[in-house]
């Protein structure tokens, strides 16, 4: 196999790998920009994956069957948003420690999705899911066409979400509020911004995006559901937000780096290169740790009040 074909294969595979972590990380970015880090992202993805699979599966023979996939995506986002709001209730209103609450949410989502699946479905069952949708003409471009324009519709959505979330954060009133409440909530409060309300909104949006990311895994990638489908991608998404220094473009870069590493290790196995499999699987994760450790500290750009509940009447 010539090197350019190898590169082509690695890149073609990397794009689908990046979709779920990219969407989830862009959602997590809204959470963190508003000052709340949601470690429960992984659990929400599990719920999204379950609901995204379950709706089309249950509607298989009903009249709504043609809309099954769309309903699956919408349902996953709705459930994700609901979990985001639950997290907001716990951490914003009741001011619980975000780290512990996030771990709790992760376990809740993971356990609940698995339990519901075993109760209602059980065993390995597939759905038709959402198929790859090559973009007419563009997908015919040599090399680039295959890498960029021959994917699942949700992959295109994920990449469009990068400029969209940048615009939302930096060019709209809502984005301004989100950035303010995550960095200096008291200042935002004195300017008439509702800190708690804004954090609720950001957590709902982040949850919906995590739900969508989960549904991508079940409905577009695996076309089935299992307990270990999400496999810690929610935590990777959280790490990507730090990696990307809370910027959508940085997050995209991190997601691509991670997926290319993942796709590379998979390709190595396909090519039959002798390399311990376990070590190769570990590689992308090690990469994230190394990059996070070496990352330049840019405190003045990040949400400096990340992780701190806001209490107006608390005295300094």
């Amino acid at each position: 196999m010539s090197p350019d074909v190898m590169i082509y294969n690695v890149l073609c595979l990397a794009v689908p790998f990046s979709v779920a972590i990219l969407i989830a990380a862009l959602g997590e970015n809204f959470n963190q920009r508003a000052g709340v880090f949601n470690l429960g992202c992984d659990g929400i993805m599990c719920m999204g994956a379950y609901v995204g699979f379950m709706l089309p599966y249950a509607l298989k023979s009903a009249a709504l069957a043609p809309y099954g996939n769309v309903l699956g995506l919408v349902g996953a986002m709705a459930v994700g948003a609901a979990f985001g709001l639950l997290f907001a209730l716990v951490t914003v209103t009741f001011r619980a420690s975000q780290g512990i609450a996030g771990i709790g949410l992760q376990m809740l989502g993971w356990g609940l999705s698995g339990t519901l699946f075993r109760h209602f479905v059980g065993g390995v069952t597939g759905v038709e899911g959402i198929q790859v949708w090559p973009i007419p003409y563009l997908s015919k471009i040599p090399f680039l066409g295959g890498v960029l324009f021959n994917h699942n519709p949700l992959a295109y959505v994920a990449f469009l979400l990068v400029p969209a979330s940048w615009f939302l954060l930096y060019k709209t009133p809502w984005g301004l509020k989100v950035r303010a409440v995550g960095t200096h909530p008291r200042a935002a409060d004195t300017m008439g911004i509702h800190v708690d309300r804004t954090r609720y909104q950001a957590l709902a949006l982040g949850g919906a995006m995590a739900g969508l990311a989960g549904a991508y895994l079940s409905l577009c990638q695996a076309k089935m559901f299992s307990d270990d489908l999400v496999a810690g991608r929610g935590f990777i998404a959280v790490a990507l937000v730090y990696f990307g220094r809370w910027s959508p473009l940085g997050i995209l870069g991190g997601a691509m780096l991670f997926s290319i590493a993942q796709s590379f290790q998979l390709s190595m196995q396909v090519w039959g290169i002798k390399f311990p499999y376990e070590f190769a699987v570990m590689l992308p994760y090690v990469l994230v740790i190394i990059v996070l450790a070496l990352a330049r500290k840019a405190r003045q750009l990040g949400p400096t009040d990340l992780g701190k509940p806001y209490n107006r009447e608390m005295r300094f």
Partner: protein, 527 residues
């Protein structure tokens, strides 16, 4: 923003606010009208800031009424106060550092918020208008974190005016400013006062004298005095504020003849940004003297103090303390060599805020034989030590088990001073020891320092309060751009002469009488 008639009078009647265990405001009645500056004076913890937060709708009063132009109002959030033309510049700036000036303003201007579009140009335009009208130069596109403290102060003023405030509440606006910036601010406020109403909170009485028309004094949450500023001397106000006569102690001796204790030679230290913050600093401290280090902040004071305490690496040079070079020693080695340290940032460097008073008092000696047996802390001894120091240093706290961070600044400083002095140091480095501290505590800390001097301890006093440096020092060293520009005996130092030196000009000749940079003198700055 205001559709109602502009604010011409604000009246508070019987405002009371309780926090758990504290009566922060006790039936306060006040009023302020357009065209006048009301100074609100009181020691730390007298309830000034709480009262202002009530006016702004950040706290709800337990009882009492607020009325604007004779009409009773209830503010639920700062937005409501702004709608009636009341705005506040908080002591800790309410600016989001990772946003631009225009973005910070746009948060509060709801008519710039369109669906999916923020009219940031509109905010910038408004800033330019206001900054021209009131002569407060501000760049709307600058990020807050890029601005100096003085510039941020200006941004706060412009922001508050842009939001439609015509009654300004300024909460200790000069506490973080350099003397020059303070002068500048007072001058600007004087110009603005004619068309606005201003409530000026401070405990620096010379500023109160320079700026205000009327003064109200708060003590333990209640108003104890109302009067016209012009009719009262600062000393009189100080007595009313603290409840007793205050005379800051002075160093009457003529020290500087003791044996050399510490000599710093050609010290080079890098600042946070990699620049050479100290560039060949020479200094000598003798036993039994207070050596004042005066200078505009940012000329290497922080780096000098850090290097002396072992908190910052030394590039080159020597710190000879009783014949031993302490440069690049660890803080532990420096502590053990008999050097005491009162750091600039008392909340984060001086104490562990969540630790109790008694634990903070043994922070440097927890492993000593006195306080630990077989690596277990001996609680009895720690309690005894704390009670004794609490008594001796007049630390006012509910008990020695109270979290130190919840005490007032003055009491936190007393805890630090008690710890450092009780260790029996041979030299003491005190950095801005009374910054932001009320007069009562200031008096106590000053007399403590002078007493230690008499006992033969050498003290380096780093401060930008000229009054403090001149009152306490035997000799004064002026620091400028990382070097000592000149060391002069305190008796030869005047405000003017120090002012010139601090600006970087050497005075080989006797100081000129006129043309010196003005630095506000107590009670003399109102022309």
């Amino acid at each position: 923003m205001t559709s109602l008639e502009p604010i011409s009078e604000l009246k508070l009647e019987g405002i009371t606010k309780r926090f758990p265990g504290v009566l922060a405001c006790d039936g306060i009645t006040l009023d302020v009208r357009r065209g006048e500056v009301l100074a609100l004076v009181g020691e730390n913890g007298a309830g000034k800031t709480t009262l202002m937060n009530i006016i702004m709708g950040l706290y709800r009063p337990d009882s009492g009424t607020i009325s604007v132009n004779g009409e009773v109002v209830q503010f639920r959030a700062p937005g409501d106060a702004y709608a009636r033309g009341i705005g506040m510049v908080h002591q800790h700036f309410m600016l989001v550092p990772n946003m631009t000036v225009a973005e910070n303003l746009a948060m509060g201007l709801k008519d710039l918020h369109h669906f999916m579009r923020l009219d940031i140009k509109g905010a910038a335009k408004k800033i330019r208008e206001v900054s021209e009208r009131y002569e407060l130069p501000v760049n709307p596109d600058a990020y807050i974190w890029q601005l100096s403290v003085g510039e941020q102060q200006r941004v706060e003023l412009v922001k508050t005016l842009c939001l439609g405030a015509r009654l300004l509440i300024l909460d200790e606006p000069t506490s973080a400013l350099t003397p020059q910036e303070t002068d500048d601010l007072i001058e600007r406020l004087q110009r603005m006062a004619s068309e606005l109403a201003i409530i000026f909170i401070s405990h620096k009485l010379n500023e109160v004298k320079a700026l205000s028309d009327r003064v109200s004094i708060l003590r333990h949450g209640a108003v104890v005095f109302n009067g016209h500023t012009a009719n009262h001397e600062p000393s009189e106000l100080a007595a009313l504020m603290t409840g007793h006569e205050v005379t800051l102690p002075r160093n009457e001796g003529s020290g500087g003849q003791g044996t050399p204790l510490l000599s710093v030679r050609q010290l080079r230290v890098r600042g946070d940004r990699g620049n050479l913050a100290l560039d060949g600093l020479d200094l000598e401290l003798r036993a039994g003297e207070v050596l004042g280090v005066a200078g505009v902040s940012g000329n290497g004071q922080r780096e000098f103090a850090d290097a002396l305490a072992g908190l910052r690496p030394v590039e080159s040079g020597e710190i000879l303390f009783q014949g031993r070079n302490l440069a690049n020693n660890t803080p532990r080695q420096i502590i053990d060599s008999g050097m005491g340290y009162v750091p600039e940032d008392r909340q984060t460097e001086g104490i562990v805020p969540s630790f109790s008073v008694k634990d903070n008092l043994i922070l440097k000696d927890f492993a000593s034989k006195q306080f630990s047996r077989l690596s277990y802390l001996s609680r009895k001894e720690i309690d005894r030590n704390a009670e004794q120091l609490k008594e001796r240093f007049d630390i006012r706290c509910p008990s020695t088990s109270t979290a130190t961070g919840s005490l007032s600044g003055g009491n936190i400083q007393k805890v630090i001073l008690a710890r450092e002095i009780a260790r029996g140091p041979k030299a003491l480095v005190a950095v801005y020891p009374t910054r932001g501290i009320d007069m009562g505590a200031q008096e106590f800390i000053h007399s403590q320092l002078l007493e230690r001097r008499r006992e033969g301890i050498g003290i380096i006093l780093i401060s930008e309060e000229l009054e403090e440096v001149m009152n306490l020092s035997d000799r004064i060293a002026v620091i400028y751009k990382g070097r000592i520009l000149k060391v002069l005996p305190a008796v030869e130092a005047t405000r003017e002469r120090l002012g010139i030196l601090m600006a970087g000009l050497t005075d080989t000749d006797p100081p000129p009488a006129a043309g010196a940079p003005s630095i506000p003198a107590a009670g003399a700055a109102h022309e």
